[in-house]
């Protein structure tokens, strides 16, 4: 009976998958099926701690890997329940929004198929009991994001593009069509996955297991074995490469920026509920084991380098992406930069955890920031979708005056913005501050400075956008447009999320440590109890710095951009700086020149000189001709072409002789 209840939990990820399949058949009903199944997934996920004891694994035999029986199953513990429930809840609201937003779209069936598949894959990833199951969800989200980013694949509507048409940076085009962005997302994220899978292989070699709990129980042996062969750092970098790529951290963030070519509802899904959070989940899953294992194995210092790497990359991404958002003109692009930046903060928290006495607090801060980010970012993207449709433009300047016609949207957007900017008592304040505090305690001053500067820019860029859109009055063009408030089906999902940012924030700390200490003890005392825990505590100095910085950022933006004050850049240095930030630090261009064009040129060169110039000419031209010229006698024996080409035998034999010679030498040696 207990087992039966356990298997019901499979429905958490299976229901959306079933919805995907059903939607293909019952095309018109697809949205309803999706909404209902995702709602059920949410309910089951949230109820799961009542149905089974936490943590527990429910699995069945799957396939044999040599003598090892690999089981397919789900792992229900504090981390998976919280993340899974947030994913399902936010996805549910986005699904409701999508019903209206995508109504009548020419790719309606395809949209709902991949939407449900996306949510199902993410839930499978979060609940997976072993790394192969996790990887199925992981790559499932890659596929779904590819399809949905390129949803409007005919590239005909320039409103769906990203970047300014005709703009070049270092000779590289800086505008991207949906079909192109899909390929970028696919190539970058699956590149990271190759490292991830070889990492799994290394793990399997030293531990003989791929199940998450199995790895946890053998973590000390794993760390010792890898440390002995000097492979610990390479292993960790390979293993987390997929997480860095998926979570759009430096140097892999480029795909996320151009992913804005997808429908806004999909941007909300990718940024708030699924995809980019997968990397955060993977680290939150494995970092506690690593910290605890390293301490037991007495190898604490050998992980220093890795966690410094996580901390610095996170802080750098948080800073860098925020700086790009400061000058960006496209609403969705600002939000995209913001996501990579906020995920950077989560990585910072995870990196800092290793260096402080109560790592669980820093990890919890990152987990909580995931929830805050999910709430406010989903709200913003859905609001952005409405704004873009109403104004038929993706640029914030064209949206000025929106407040007069869209008051509720403005309120929702403001609530979300305050949370993003880190103003108390919004939820974004608490966890971001906790991350910054942990970073300070970790003693890494560079990361702390990057983080605080990033926080300043965060408040600035989001209130720059808010001021330009909602505070400023519309120009002449605005009066001609018929702007109206969003339809209730679209409005309510993001209005609720905006409100939740506030409500979640208020109850986050109050009363008596509030929701935060409840979640904290659920995850880090009940499910992952091996790390030292403590009371969540805020130091007045850090809070002071965070709040001041955020307020200055907010007010500066308001002062500069309110009342249509034009920002004129007089000095050429400032103009250059703007271009530098606007063109994403020229990193996209550098990538294209260093990898894309370089590989392309290499391929062209090889095609011309090796493939046809060498092999084809040698085997199918030179060799036959050489022998035709000198071997007239041979020709008399052979009739026609067949004889000529028989001589190709010789050429092939020559190559094989060389390879064969090496093989023989190796086998004898």
């Amino acid at each position: 009976m207990v087992k039966m209840i356990g298997y019901i939990l499979f429905l958490i990820w299976a229901l959306p998958m079933i919805a995907a399949g059903l939607g293909l058949v019952l095309k018109k009903q697809a949205p309803f099926i999706s909404i209902v199944t995702i709602a059920l997934s949410f309910v089951i996920s949230a109820m799961s701690p009542l149905l089974v004891k936490v943590p527990s694994v429910i699995s069945y035999p799957w396939f044999a890997l040599l003598g090892n029986q690999i089981r397919f199953g789900i792992l229900v513990d504090g981390l998976s329940v919280i993340m899974g429930s947030v994913v399902a809840f936010v996805s549910l609201l986005i699904a409701i929004y999508s019903y209206k937003y995508m109504y009548g779209d020419w790719g309606h069936t395809r949209y709902w198929y991949f939407f449900s598949f996306f949510v199902g894959s993410m839930l499978l990833l979060v609940y997976a009991s072993n790394l192969i199951v996790l990887l199925i969800g992981w790559e499932g989200t890659t596929l779904a994001s590819y399809a949905l980013i390129g949803h409007w694949y005919t590239d005909e509507d320039e409103e769906r593009w990203v970047g300014d048409k005709g703009r070049y940076a270092l000779g590289v085009p800086m505008w991207f069509t949906p079909s192109q962005s899909g390929v970028r997302a696919m190539v970058v994220t699956s590149f990271g996955d190759i490292g991830f899978i070889t990492g799994i292989g290394m793990l399997y070699k030293v531990s003989g297991t791929i199940s998450i709990l199995g790895i946890e129980s053998k973590i000390v042996e794993i760390i010792s074995a890898l440390d002995k062969s000097g492979l610990l750092l390479p292993f960790l970098i390979a293993f987390t490469m997929g997480a860095f790529a998926k979570s759009a951290q430096f140097p892999f963030y480029e795909w996320l920026v151009t992913a804005m070519t997808g429908p806004s509802s999909i941007s909300a899904l990718i940024h708030a509920a699924t995809m980019v959070n997968a990397g955060v989940y993977l680290l939150l899953r494995f970092v506690p084991m690593l910290i605890q294992g390293a301490a037991v194995a007495g190898l604490y210092s050998s992980l220093n380098l890795f966690f410094t790497y996580v901390l610095i990359i996170g802080a750098f991404t948080a800073f860098m992406m925020a700086s790009m958002a400061v000058v960006s003109n496209e609403l969705k692009l600002i939000l995209a930069y913001s996501t990579a930046s906020q995920i950077g903060y989560m990585f910072m928290g995870i990196g800092a955890a290793y260096f402080i006495s109560t790592p669980s607090i820093a990890l919890f801060a990152s987990l909580s920031h995931f929830i805050s980010q999910a709430l406010f970012k989903a709200a913003m993207f859905m609001a952005a979708g409405v704004l873009i449709e109403e104004f038929s433009s993706r640029y914030i300047k064209d949206m000025a005056g929106a407040y007069s016609k869209m008051k509720l949207t403005a309120i929702a957007f403001m609530l979300a913005s305050l949370s993003l900017a880190g103003i108390p008592p919004f939820s974004g304040f608490w966890d971001k501050d906790l991350i910054l505090e942990s970073t300070m305690l970790s003693g890494n001053i560079i990361a702390y400075i990057l983080g605080v500067t990033g926080a300043f820019m965060t408040a600035f860029y989001i209130f720059r956008a808010f001021t330009i859109i909602f505070v400023n009055k519309g120009d002449e063009r605005f009066k001609e447009k018929e702007i109206k408030e969003a339809h209730a089906v679209m409005l309510w999902p993001y209005f609720v999320l905006g409100l939740l940012s506030l409500i979640f924030g208020i109850f986050w700390y109050f009363p008596n440590g509030g929701l935060a200490s409840m979640m904290y003890s659920f995850v880090y005392r009940q499910s992952i109890p091996k790390l030292p825990t403590a009371q969540i505590f805020f130091s007045p100095l850090d809070v002071g710095i965070s709040v001041t910085v955020a307020l200055i950022g907010l007010l500066t933006a308001f002062y500069i951009y309110a009342n249509r004050r034009e920002v004129v850049l007089n000095s050429s240095i400032l103009k250059k700086l703007r271009d530098f930030l606007y063109d994403r630090w020229y990193i996209n261009s550098v990538y294209y020149r260093a990898f894309v064009y370089a590989l392309n040129n290499l391929a062209s060169f090889m095609r011309k000189n090796v493939e046809f110039g060498l092999f084809d000419r040698f085997y199918h031209n030179l060799v036959p001709r050489f022998i035709m010229g000198t071997g007239e006698k041979l020709r008399k024996f052979q009739r026609g072409d067949i004889g000529k080409y028989l001589l190709v035998l010789l050429a092939g034999a020559l190559f094989l002789l060389i390879i064969g010679f090496i093989m023989v030498v190796l086998m004898y040696g």
Binding site: G195, A603, G652
Partner: protein, 501 residues
């Protein structure tokens, strides 16, 4: 008695029916020929699957041949993925052939349905025969039939300069076959038997008896099969042959025919001579990495859809070789699954290319395509599944083959220590190229602004493709169908000390 020879008899059915079809030739309409071939190929295909399902390992009664050991057909855990892949693809492509060849015959001005299907059936069933054989000579006989028939299929119904290309194909593949044959002669003359299954003497003893000759045998067989797999350096014949063959034949040649090379390396050299391969492991690893990267780069720059797929096959054979080169049971498992996954993926992709060729006026130039997903939703969805299969994305069986090969690489990395990081760098590049060329091709062909309006393939083309794709998804959902038999075979060998862990 019946039970012991059932595999032999069922294999004989298509040979007989094919011969009848040759005699009938123009006397029967194409449709009848298509049905006859499909059903006759279905007989051994179903028989192998059922026999394997019933018995696990199945051996037919051996037929002693003086001086050569004995001939026997068998299925066991190791050839199961290969047999399943061949059975699946050959039957369904027989149906697909009909609408395709209808167009091709119209272009050529003659309707030799009997000749086409005779050659097709002989080709297909010989592929199955190769994999089921236990004896070098039997293996080579089936191989020879498959080479001649496929040569004729290219020469008679191919595209471009088909006479020249078919001869290139014939010569290269015979060079490979010749090396293989020489290797097997040395084996046979020393051991007085040509049986490689079951091993005539224990593996350790064999290395002692053969002495230095073992090295020569392994080298010759591996090199011969390198040509067959179109490993870098001896790959030049493949882009010509696979691109210019009639498309149904490409769909068999590309995944199945060349993959058999990998199977032979596993079945013969890995099982019998693993310690020797271990010594030459570095060259196997280098050849696999170079093949993956080179095939990927060439596919990236190719503008002819079929030629692009041909280069992709070279890269995919690099995957298979990489699984073999790790020389760990998981790598072998991955390599054998890679055969199956590639058979599924590449046959769908070639079939999609075939839809463009036969229904859209020989459309092959990718530069002329674009946005075809609008007018060809089914073909584009199927092609996407095919590309997912070769890139290893769920929910296709390719996910597991890529997974297992990369896990084996990870295991190898731990063994190699820090120098292994160089291997990792190349693996990242090579495996990273696959989604790049695959999804770039997908974009150039099916996405972007529609340049032309495509004509969708009919039911007779789409249904076989859909079935192949569906089986790719089913074997993803239930990987134990393919993996468990291979796993238990390799595990048993591992426990017995037959292979190296």
């Amino acid at each position: 008695m019946m039970e012991g020879q059932i595999l032999t008899y069922t294999l004989a059915v298509p040979y007989l029916v094919g011969f009848v079809q040759l005699l009938l030739n123009k006397k029967a309409p194409g449709k009848i020929h298509a049905i006859m071939s499909t059903i006759s190929l279905l007989v051994p295909a179903l028989a192998t699957v059922i026999l394997f399902g019933l018995y696990g390992t199945y051996l037919s009664y051996p037929l002693p041949v003086v001086g050569l050991g004995y001939f026997m057909l068998f299925i066991d855990g190791l050839n199961w993925p290969v047999v399943a892949g061949i059975a699946l693809v050959t039957v369904l492509i027989a149906i697909y052939s009909y609408p395709y060849m209808e167009t091709r015959f119209r272009e050529l001005g003659s309707e030799d349905w009997g000749i086409y299907y005779f050659l097709y059936v002989y080709f297909s069933v010989s592929l199955l025969g190769i994999v089921l054989s236990n004896n070098f000579i039997l293996f080579y006989l089936f191989l020879e039939v498959s080479l001649i028939t496929s040569f004729l299929l290219i020469a008679l119904y191919g595209y471009g300069n088909r006479q020249r290309i078919s001869i290139i194909y014939l010569i290269w593949t015979h060079l490979g076959g010749f090396l293989f044959l020489v290797g097997s002669f040395i084996y046979g003359f020393v051991l007085h038997t040509f049986n490689f299954y079951p091993p005539p003497i224990s593996v350790g003893l064999m290395l002692q008896v053969l002495g230095p000759l073992a090295t020569v045998i392994v080298t010759l067989i591996v090199l011969g099969m390198f040509i067959k797999m179109a490993v870098f350096g001896v790959h030049m014949w493949l882009p010509y042959a696979h691109a210019e063959a009639p498309t149904p034949i490409s769909a068999l040649l590309s995944p199945v025919m060349i993959g058999i090379g990998g199977y032979a390396i596993i079945r013969i050299t890995y099982i019998l001579f693993a310690p020797l391969l271990l010594k030459a492991q570095i060259i196997l690893l280098i050849m696999s990495v170079v093949t993956i990267i080179y095939g990927g780069l060439m596919a990236l720059k190719e503008n002819d859809f079929k030629r692009l797929l041909a280069y992709s096959s070279i890269a995919q054979m690099g995957y298979m070789l990489m699984g073999i080169a790790t020389l760990s049971p998981i790598g072998i498992l991955g390599a054998l699954l890679q055969f199956f996954a590639h058979a599924v993926g590449k046959s769908i992709l070639f079939s999609s290319a075939g839809v463009l060729i036969s229904k859209n006026d020989n459309l092959r130039d990718i530069n002329k395509m674009g946005g075809l997903a609008r007018s060809m939703p089914y073909t584009s969805s199927l092609a996407l599944l095919g590309f997912m299969d070769i890139s290893g994305l769920p929910p296709t069986v390719g996910f597991f083959s890529k997974l297992l090969i990369l896990i084996a690489v990870g295991i190898e990395l731990v063994k190699l220590g820090l120098p292994g990081m160089l291997l990792l760098a190349f693996v990242l590049l090579g495996f990273g190229l696959t989604p790049a060329y695959a999804f770039l091709a997908m974009k150039r062909i099916f996405f972007g602004p529609p340049k032309i309006k495509g004509v969708e393939g009919g039911k007779a083309m789409l249904v076989p493709m859909i079935i192949i794709a569906a089986i790719g998804v089913i074997t993803f959902a239930f990987p134990s169908l393919i993996l468990n038999p291979v796993s238990s075979f390799l595990h048993a060998m591992l426990v017995l000390g037959g292979v190296i862990g």
